[in-house]
């Protein structure tokens, strides 16, 4: 783990009164390996380590009696700075507000829609769920079941295309005085131009105040391209990481945050609808560091 590697790094630098550039570069190489093992994307690792190197050559380290420990602390700080501070609350000022969920196939969007519905209902909001997924067998049934479980209405948006269904569901939400409409969409690959155009069109039609990327926390290097692509397409306002209960290092979170600046808002910590928490940047930085 990074913590084990860090004690090795600290040991190597201990006793050296001044840290040389050679020491620093050797340390950065160890950190590079550790971050890649934690699934942080390569271009992001390079940027993070440039930052660590710059601070590592600075005054503070030059004067420090324990440069090794300080370098490690610098990396921790760079990681938690990247992950941002306390997540801000969802933007739900408009009535009805739309939360659009998007992401790759199997990431956990439908389950997360149910979790969000439960979370917001507990805050006293009047919530409704809708799905515009016409591809996956029993996708809409799946969300309907979750809607019943959390006691919120499910709107079956009429229309042939996803954007038509979304618009129809939004009109129903307006009629019924719904405060928040959670919009579940079909999984899609970023290389599929038609499907990326589809989600872009859905967003233009419903003008969701929250556009959240649902991302499987065990994703590897591809998380970088995925985040950039979805961000380019719907201008993401946030990201929800799922399946963190699989004990993942979660480097994908760092890749998303560093490359797009999209804030991480929530994490899914299990299959049950209660398994849903606010994103904790300190805790995530700790996971990545092992």
């Amino acid at each position: 783990t990074l913590t084990q590697k860090f004690s090795a790094i600290s040991d190597r630098l201990r006793g050296s009164a001044r840290i040389t550039e050679a020491d620093l570069d050797a340390t950065l190489r160890d950190m590079r390996m550790a971050l890649l093992e934690a699934d942080v994307a390569l271009p992001v690792v390079r940027k993070l380590l440039d930052e660590v190197r710059e601070r590592g050559l600075g005054e503070e380290v030059a004067k420090s009696l324990k440069p090794g420990q300080l370098i490690v602390k610098i990396l921790h700080d760079v990681l938690s700075d990247t992950l941002g501070g306390e997540p801000k609350p969802l933007d739900l000022q408009k009535i009805p507000s739309v939360i659009l969920l998007c992401g790759l196939q199997g990431a956990g969007k439908t389950t997360t829609a149910g979790k969000l519905a439960r979370f917001l209902t507990q805050q006293g909001k009047k919530v409704a769920l809708t799905s515009v997924d016409s591809t996956r067998p029993a996708a809409r049934e799946q969300l309907e079941i979750l809607a019943r479980q959390v006691n919120v209405p499910y709107f079956a948006g009429r229309g042939k295309r996803a954007d038509q269904m979304a618009t129809d569901a939004l009109n129903q939400a307006k009629k019924d005085g719904i405060h928040v409409l959670i919009l579940d969409t079909a999984g899609r690959q970023t290389v599929d131009d038609d499907l990326m155009a589809e989600i872009n069109k859905v967003q233009r039609k419903v003008q969701a105040s929250e556009r959240l990327l649902v991302l499987d926390s065990m994703m590897g290097q591809a998380a970088l391209e995925i985040a950039e692509s979805f961000h380019e397409n719907v201008r993401l306002s946030g990201c929800i990481l799922t399946k963190t209960d699989a004990d993942v290092r979660g480097g994908a979170a760092i890749s998303v945050a560093q490359s797009t600046g999209v804030p991480l808002r929530f994490v899914g910590t299990g299959e049950k609808l209660e398994a849903f928490e606010f994103f904790d940047p300190q805790r995530m930085a700790g996971r990545v560091l092992g």
């Binding site: 956990g108 067998p137 029993a138 290097q221 699989a246 299959e271």
Partner: protein, 268 residues
């Protein structure tokens, strides 16, 4: 002829970067590049040969029993249910009689989803009430598979993370009960892995192999950005054969694994 030309240092760096960005893992990527350079296998063709040597001789499929019983496992959302639809279709096209057991008795609309695929594939399904014991469904499915003369029986299981002890115990029980129904079964246990998975795939495959005695891998979603380089590490460590790859969401989107094509895709 590019493949035969000696690679420059900058080209080697591009290759190492490409392997890392394909999820081959930093250690394996660096080792492959260094080993090739050291042994003077320093053109693209030789590099590919070196990478192909990671893949062991493909063992023949253990599918000569009747019915051939296949257990499908993996973490949540990797594509197990959809893949079973594709496999059922493939076996039906070979003129085989296929029975599928809906042993995911937990997730919302899991049985409905599988039923649609089974109908599309022209296969038959065994299902029980929601919340019933997956082991009981598996047992019933195999019994019916034997008594009604099916050629292939495929068991769909719920997604589960390898860190969930009670769900891994449930899977161990499913495996035991399948053996009770038919001593030689399951004849194949295929672990479905999402091509976009990072280093966690190693722990996943390791734990599932311990519990469910995995005999094959299926890598899905190779139609996306992810190159599935994690497969190189999985093969290197566990030598479990990769049987098929998923390249889309329809019934035709299943291909036999081709190591040479796979390696080509990993390189820049």
């Amino acid at each position: 002829n590019r493949a035969g030309e000696k690679l420059t240092d900058s080209e080697w760096q591009d290759i190492e970067d490409a392997l890392i960005m394909a999820d081959c893992g930093p250690e394996l990527s660096i080792n492959i590049v260094n080993k090739c350079k050291k042994e003077r296998q320093d053109n693209l063709h030789q590099l590919k040969e070196h990478m192909l040597n990671v893949f062991p001789e493909v063992k023949s499929l253990n599918d000569d029993k009747k019915p051939f019983v296949l257990l499908v496992v993996g973490v949540n959302g990797t594509g197990k249910t959809t893949t079973i639809g594709k496999l059922a279709t493939m076996y039906r096209q070979q003129g085989k009689k296929v029975l599928v057991g809906a042993a995911d008795t937990f997730r919302a609309a899991a049985v409905e989803q599988l039923s649609v695929w089974v109908t599309r594939a022209g296969a038959d399904i065994v299902k029980q009430a929601e919340g019933s014991d997956p082991a009981a469904v598996s047992f019933d499915t195999i019994q019916r598979g034997i008594s009604r003369d099916y050629d292939v029986v495929i068991i769909d299981t719920a997604g589960r993370v390898q860190t969930d002890t009670s769900l891994m115990n449930e899977l161990a029980k499913v495996h035991r009960v399948i053996q009770k129904a038919m001593p030689s079964a399951p004849h194949e246990v295929w672990h479905v892995v999402d091509a976009g998975t990072g280093q966690n795939a190693i722990n996943q495959v390791e734990k599932f192999k311990e519990i469910a005695h995995t005999t094959g891998l299926i890598v899905t979603k190779l139609d996306g950005t992810a190159k599935g380089g994690i497969v190189l590490q999985l093969t290197h460590r566990f030598a479990i054969p990769i049987r098929y790859i998923g390249v889309g969401e329809t019934l035709e989107d299943l291909l036999p694994f081709d190591a040479s094509n796979f390696v080509d895709e990993l390189l820049p």
